[in-house]
Every structure is written in C-alpha cells, then in structure tokens.
C-alpha cells in the first residue's frame, strides 16, 4: 500500500449524487454562502440606515433557492422569476452582488435606476424577470415566457417561485391552470416556509401539503426537504428535465423555514421560541458545509478560501455602492413608455428640483 497523507479521508468519498461534479458542489457552496453573507452585509447596512426600504431575509432558506435555480441550464437560456426570499436564485442566474446592494440602497446605477426596491429587478440577457409585490402575478407572466419557448420550438425551461401565501391568490390559480392546459415547460416551485408575514400555513390552506394541489391542475407533483441542498437540486432537476422533454408543468414543494420575520422590522412575536431554536439547529448552509467535508468532497482549506473570496468581493461591492449617488430627481420622468420618452414635467417644478 502506498503511503497516504493523514489529512485525506480514510475511506473513498461517497459517490456524488444527482449527476453533479465536484466543481459543481463547490459552486453550489459558493452560492449558498454568498447568499448568506450578502444578506448579512445588507442587515448591517439596514441598521446604519443605508438600506432605504425594508430588508427581506432568506435566512434558513438559502439552500432551496440555490439548489432549485442550479437545476436550470443557463447555457440553454432557461429563465426564472424569483420571489422576495429567492435572492440565491438570482445569484445563480448571474445577478451581481453589487447590483443587489445598489438596488437596496436606491442608487442611480441600480438595475432599476432607483425606481424599485430590494430584489425587484430582472435581466432578460441573464434569464430572470423581477417580481412585483402582488403575489401570484409572476405565474401567468412566466406562463407567457414559456409559451414563447413553446411557440418558437425552443428547448428552454422556465421556473417560477411561489410560497404558501402566493398559492392562495387568483393569479397563481389562473397561471398554473393555463400553463397546465398548454403543457408549457414550466416548473412551479412552492416554498413552504411556515409563514406568510405572520399567518401560519394552517390558516392559509386546508391541504396537508402544498404539493397536494398538483392533482387539481393535472400536473406532476414532487417534493423535497428544502434545507437539503442536494435533494432540492435533484427534485428540481427532475422537473426541469420533464419540462424540457415536453412533459409539461411540475409543481415542486420544498419544505423549509423562515427564520427571520417578514422583513427586518418584524420581531416575530407570533413565533414560538422552540420552533426557532429547532430550525436554527437545522441550518442549511452549515449542513451543506458539513456534508461536503464529511463526505470528503471538499477540504477545509478550499472552503475557507471560497469564503474569503466572497468576503473580499463583498467588501469591494459595499464600498463601491455606498459611495455612489442617488438618481437625479428629474430622471423620475423618463421611460414610462417607449413613446413619448418622458412624462410631462409639472410647470411649477423647476429643472433639477
């Protein structure tokens, strides 16, 4: 037997599941860690009053956003539409932390030029469309996006996020029903995170599991533990493959937990303490990191190095975004329509003010 370094695991590393490669496991770790770290930076900026509006955390839900978005094929032009707690999915699709920071701080150079809040923005080139605050509305819109794929014979897939709250809306129903009838290549990811603002799931719906609703629309249903990153990837990948093969819509339920309030101002007085403690012990980022190390898929040095790279990138991005200006006031008037290019300036309002 040749001599072996004692730092290497004694047994051969277990096979990597779901057809993933080792580099991909590290990439997945990059995205969950980046999501967590970026939100921590945002929380600091929020406390300093530099985030102008509310801050919406996905603490404890990072794995479901990242694992599901990672199942799409960016090179094929797949598309997604996130909800407020799917920052991780946008990062996977190529959104830059700097763009997120600018957006939260309402900077002129933000993707929406200071017109919209938080992660409400999109990028047609990178393949994501920003949500609006009216829950459920993105389901019909993504039905339209995937209708265009079908009409043009493109083998592209769309993914839209909803939560236990959004699934109570009329637009969710209309959108998934339309997509089901048209057999569109759409994956509907239902995140069950326990609460919609303060309302627990049992007051939101009478079904036992959100995926039970799949039967009502005649679509395939599947589910996974939303805090198990690789399980999330695997279940979403199956749905994406079905969609690409022309087998229509899948409703995927991911069960996870929202460990912060609806937004940063919300003290979660309505949540039992033991519930929070239970889910803190079930942290998806820690669990995935442990899984990588214990399975021998990644060594401690490369994980630390990955974390250091994220910290450096965020240091730079925060400094840059903080130094940038707000938008020019009169820029508020342009771009409502393609034509005319700007709204009329009130006659009593001087230029620049």
């Amino acid at each position: 037997m040749p001599a072996r370094s004692p730092a290497l695991p004694r047994r051969a590393a277990p096979a990597i599941p779901a057809g993933l490669r080792r580099e991909q496991l590290l990439e997945l770790y990059h995205y969950v860690r980046l999501t967590r770290s970026l939100e921590e930076r945002l929380a600091n900026l929020y406390r300093q009053g530099k985030v102008i509006g509310g801050l919406f955390r996905s603490l404890g839900q990072e794995a479901d956003s990242v694992g599901s978005a990672y199942a799409l094929d960016r090179s094929a032009g797949d598309f997604l539409s996130p909800l407020i707690r799917n920052l991780g999915s946008m990062l996977v699709q190529g959104a830059e932390p700097l763009a997120i920071l600018r957006q939260y701080m309402a900077k002129a150079a933000s993707p929406s030029r200071g017109r919209e809040l938080n992660i409400h923005f999109g990028d047609l080139e990178k393949g994501y469309i920003g949500q609006i605050s009216h829950l459920g509305d993105m389901v019909p819109v993504m039905a339209g996006v995937t209708l265009s794929f079908k009409m043009r014979g493109e083998r592209r897939v769309g993914l839209v996020y909803v939560g236990d709250g959004a699934m109570s809306t009329g637009t969710f129903h209309e959108g998934i029903n339309f997509a089901a009838v048209q057999r569109l290549p759409l994956v509907v990811v239902a995140e069950q995170n326990g609460y919609a603002y303060s309302t627990p799931v049992r007051k939101q719906t009478a079904v036992e599991r959100l995926v039970d609703k799949a039967a009502a629309y005649g679509v395939h249903g599947d589910s996974a533990d939303g805090n198990d990153l690789l399980a999330v990837y695997a279940v979403t990948k199956r749905a994406v493959d079905r969609a690409r093969a022309g087998e229509g819509v899948t409703l995927v339920e991911l069960r996870t937990y929202r460990r912060k309030g609806h937004a940063e101002h919300d003290d979660q007085s309505y949540v039992p303490e033991e519930e929070l403690a239970y889910w803190a012990r079930n942290d998806p980022v820690d669990a995935y990191r442990r899984q990588l190390e214990e399975s021998g898929w990644a060594g401690p040095e490369e994980l630390l190095a990955a974390e250091a790279r994220i910290d450096e990138e965020l240091d730079r991005a925060v400094a840059l975004a903080e130094a940038e200006p707000f938008p020019e006031p009169e820029s508020a008037l342009d771009g409502v329509c393609a034509g005319p290019p700007a709204a009329e300036r009130p006659w009593y309002r001087g230029r620049g003010g």
């Binding site: 009216h134 339209g144 209708l147 209309e174 339309f178």
Partner: protein, 326 residues
C-alpha cells in the same frame, strides 16, 4: 374600394398584421375554432392554426399576464377580452404589472388588449361597460377608441406595431351598423395620439370619441338645420396619449366647448379634458366647459332605463343650445 363594416375592418387589420409579422398571435376565450363571441377572429384558426390563435381558460389575469410574458420575449400578443367588462378581472395585471414594466424594469411589453365595449345594446350592467377612465389614470397604458371603420382598422394595426401596451376599446354597437369604403391594398395606419376633426365648425366644439362621435354628428346636423349653428366635432381617437394640441386648437377656434362620452360622469374622461382646457386655454373660453355623459349608475337592462341613463342625441342638442347662448 369595397365597403366594409367596423367589425370587418378590425378583422382585416388583425389578419393583415398576423400575415405581415409571425410574432403576432391572438389569445382569448373562444377566439379559436369558434371565431370569438362576436366573430372578430372568424377564419383565423383555419388560416393561422391553434398555435397562433389560442383558446384560453376563463382567466383574464392569465390571458394578460401570459401576453406580457410572451411580449417580454419578443412576441406581439393580441389578447381578447370577450366583453370589455371582464377587463376588470385583469386590472391588477394591467395596472401593477404591465403598466409599470418598462418604467421599473426596462421590460418591453408590446401587447394589445382589445374587446367590445359600450351600451345601447340592452346588455345590462356587465356587457355594456366603458372602462377607459380606470386605465386613463394609470401611467404606462395607451388607450385607443376607434369610431369609424377606417380607424378600427388603422388603430388595430398601429396598436400591434406600437412598442407599448395598448388598450383597444372597440364599440360593439358599431360592429355591424356602420360601413365605409376602405382601400383594399396598402397599409392603412391611424397614428396613435392624433385626433381627427370629424366635422368642421366655428360656433362651438364637441369633443368626443368612440360611438358618441355619431351622436355628436347627428346633433350637429340638427343644430345646423334648426339653429344655424356650425358645430365642430373632434374625434379624439386616442385617449392616451391625448392630443392636447387638437383640443386647444378647437377651443381657440370656436371658444365654446362641450365634451360627450358614454361612460359615467364622476371621474370620467370629460373631467380630465376639462381640466386640460382650463390649464391651457382658459383665456379662449367664452362659456363653461359642459359635459354630456351617462348618469352615475350601473347600466340598467330595460330599454326605458338604458335609454334614460345613456347620452342621447337630444341631450347633446339641448346642452349645445345652452352653450351657444353664452
């Protein structure tokens, strides 16, 4: 030059655009094999196939939302509301999603949402509405209201080619009641945002749109015959963007102006037009800006009730006489 109805002119415009541009497609309830509740898309399913003439579930929000999503990706959807009354089911999608898309996210959303509006057909409260005021108030949506067969065709073609979302309100009373000779070849386009003088006059102006253009023209005939008044009728054709120059020009010309619309009075389009005249042409006025509109009630069914509530030619004549007396 063949004579075509308002409905046939609309159908021609849609068909020409679908033949010209393969990105154009239609979606709505019963628009496919059945050809639409009013047969606007009759023959389209056979010509263009089910992929481009899509029968949808009864889901106005999904129809508009899916149109928006497809438009983001470069297609040119035309969504039909079976009766325009049902557009309120898509109000959220239109006002919150579609109207804001370019401003907040730079998303191109070139969709047309069209459907039959209007009363005088004994349709009752839910098959007779005129919803333009609700959308006039929402920045980001264009609104066109053709009154003639020529504009029914010219405006649908312009709406489909426009890079912004356009609401196209076609009046169902006019569908088969008016005819016009239209050129059979060539591109008939009515520019969005340009009003039309439907009748020249110098004594007073009636600013109006859609089916009320015909009531105004009837009234103008009577006023000329019985009162010797030369009444100008301005057909707005587009409500957003509104042709302020044409409005100011007619005020400066006749110095007396009234506004006629079929929609109810309070919060209606007439109030907005009057405010613009007040701001831009106050010095030119020789009398108050008067309105003829429906009464502020849901539109009732019985002929005696509907006729009482909706504007009639005699109302236009009576108000014009009062205005002329200033």
């Amino acid at each position: 030059m063949a004579e075509v109805t308002y409905l046939e002119a609309l159908r021609q415009g849609l068909r020409e655009e679908m033949r010209r541009d393969e990105r154009v497609f239609i979606l709505g309830e019963d628009v496919g094999a059945y050809g639409g509740a009013f047969k606007v898309t009759e023959g389209f399913y056979e010509e263009f196939g089910e992929a481009r003439v899509i029968d949808t579930p009864i889901s106005e929000a999904a129809i508009v939302g899916a149109a928006a999503g497809a438009a983001h990706m470069g297609l040119r959807p035309v969504a039909e509301m079976q009766f325009i009354d049902f557009i309120s089911c898509a109000y959220d999608m239109l006002t919150n999603y579609v109207a804001t898309a370019r401003y907040r996210a730079g998303l191109p959303t070139p969709i047309v949402v069209r459907g039959p509006c209007g009363g005088y057909v004994r349709g009752g409260p839910f098959h007779s509405q005129n919803p333009e005021a609700a959308f006039l108030h929402t920045p980001g949506l264009k609104i066109v209201c053709p009154a003639t067969a020529r504009d029914a065709k010219g405006l649908i073609k312009a709406a489909i080619r426009d890079d912004d979302p356009v609401l196209y309100f076609e009046h169902k009373f006019l569908y088969r009641r008016i005819k016009e000779a239209l050129p059979e070849d060539g591109d008939l386009l009515t520019p969005i945002g340009k009003a039309r003088i439907a009748r020249e006059g110098r004594d007073l102006s009636i600013i109006t749109y859609s089916a009320m253009v015909w009531k105004a023209l009837e009234a103008a005939e009577i006023l000329e015959r019985e009162d010797g008044l030369a009444v100008e009728v301005l057909d707005l054709r587009t409500l957003v963007p509104m042709d302020d120059d044409a409005i100011v020009a007619t005020v400066e010309k006749t110095n007396k102006v009234m506004i006629v619309h079929e929609d109810t009075r309070t919060g209606g389009v007439a109030g907005e037009i009057a405010a613009r005249i007040n701001e831009r042409a106050f010095e030119w006025l020789d009398g108050p800006v008067l309105r003829v509109t429906a009464a502020d009630v849901p539109l009732p069914y019985a002929p005696t009730l509907e006729d009482y509530v909706l504007p009639q030619t005699a109302d236009v004549v009576a108000v014009a006489r009062r205005l002329a007396a200033y």
